[in-house]
Symmetry: C2
Subunit: 211 residues, 2 copies
DNA sequence: GTCTATACTACGATAGAC
DNA sequence: GTCTATCGTAGTATAGAC
């Protein structure tokens, strides 16, 4: 399928070099087709970019099932929620480590720095849903009612995962490694899960102090 | 000064659009000079880019004094180290919030995604030094001897700060705000400092368990 | 639907006037 | 030092053949 080939290569190339860093000729050549196919199927470079964003939103969350986490939220069980947060964290950290996530992760990072309409499309998909579930899980795990407090906490948890991808070059330097092996990532995941445990405990203590 | 104008605009433009996303003509025009000035002063586009990276490394850490934190490390006082980590966190979060950091922060983010020689230069400056001090402070604050454990912890702390800049578009969406006000950032800083406190306590407990 | 050929614009580098 | 002029290359879009 010419269209799927074009999309895959578009995500890879746009992610790596940005919208302006790639030529439609390059993308077409890599997809073994003529440049004018892009004009025909997507109306032009911009159209292909937005189509790639939709594809990113699709690929991003294909691995996990939000429903399971939503069920935990519905159950209202704090211990289960805490376990679910740890699972979500480990899963996301592992997904970010897999090479096939590189393409769409780069694409998203670029859109974070300079959001365009493409970011709206991506956030409307898996990203927004996952964020919402994480916030809800934090509320259940801590008993916190204040949505704002839970959202801020969710961001701080997410940051600990994100950093391994978003500041990967710095992490490599700090850890004095050429590549970040699976063992290192596992070690880091253990650290982050312990951190989250400590943070949730702290949030519960804060809530009880207030009362 | 033509050269300083070129550097400032280069950081801004290269940061926003990447090396290939800007033309030397645009940069020269924005600096009110001729394109050939870039060839003359920096040898070409590439030379200007590397010069911009050096300028970024300079601007990045101009605000704070590493020496002060190094003195705390030398003192070996755990309570002072903990306070220093909180100060460093708050300071960096505030610095990232200031609009003038946008230009060089974008430049660095781009280099994290696709490191070039420019990243080496930036890391060799403030970034590497700050990272090292943070690791040392964590060792002092927790009594942890294992450098690797401290480095992983440092990364998780840094991630909580970084996320507000690197995933700003997502944070805005999650917090349902068009702009991230100073109040929100203060609230977030309070959350992160409390998180760090809890994490350091947890690390001390882990160390005592091991013994 | 997919390709070739072509029109038009903008790029970076350089030479040379001042 | 800073400018203008120009060269060769590469970009997107489009028209038309098959």
């Amino acid at each position: 399928m010419v269209q799927q080939r074009l999309l895959d290569i578009a995500i890879e190339q746009f992610g790596q070099h940005g919208l302006e860093g790639v030529s439609t000729r390059e993308i077409a050549a890599a997809a073994n087709t003529a440049m004018s196919s892009i004009t025909y199927h997507y109306g032009g470079k911009e159209g292909l970019y937005l189509a790639a964003a939709d594809e990113v939103a699709k690929q991003m969350g294909c691995d996990w099932q939000i429903d399971m986490f939503e069920a935990v939220v519905a159950s209202g069980d704090p211990a289960a929620a805490r376990e679910a947060i740890a699972d979500l964290t480990r899963g996301f950290l592992q997904q970010l480590q897999q090479p096939q996530s590189n393409d769409w992760a780069l694409f998203i990072m670029r859109e974070q720095l300079q959001p365009t309409e493409a970011f709206e499309r991506i956030y409307a998909g898996t990203m927004g849903q996952t964020g919402k579930v994480l916030v809800d899980l934090i509320c259940v795990a801590t008993g916190v009612q204040d949505g704002q407090a839970a959202r801020l906490a969710a961001i701080s948890l997410f940051g600990q995962v994100l950093v391994m991808k978003a500041a990967r070059a710095m992490c490599r330097k700090m850890l004095e490694r050429e590549t970040l092996s699976e063992e290192i990532i596992d070690e880091y995941a253990t650290r982050v899960v312990a951190n989250i445990d400590a943070i949730l405990d702290r949030m519960i203590a804060e809530r009880q102090e207030q009362a």
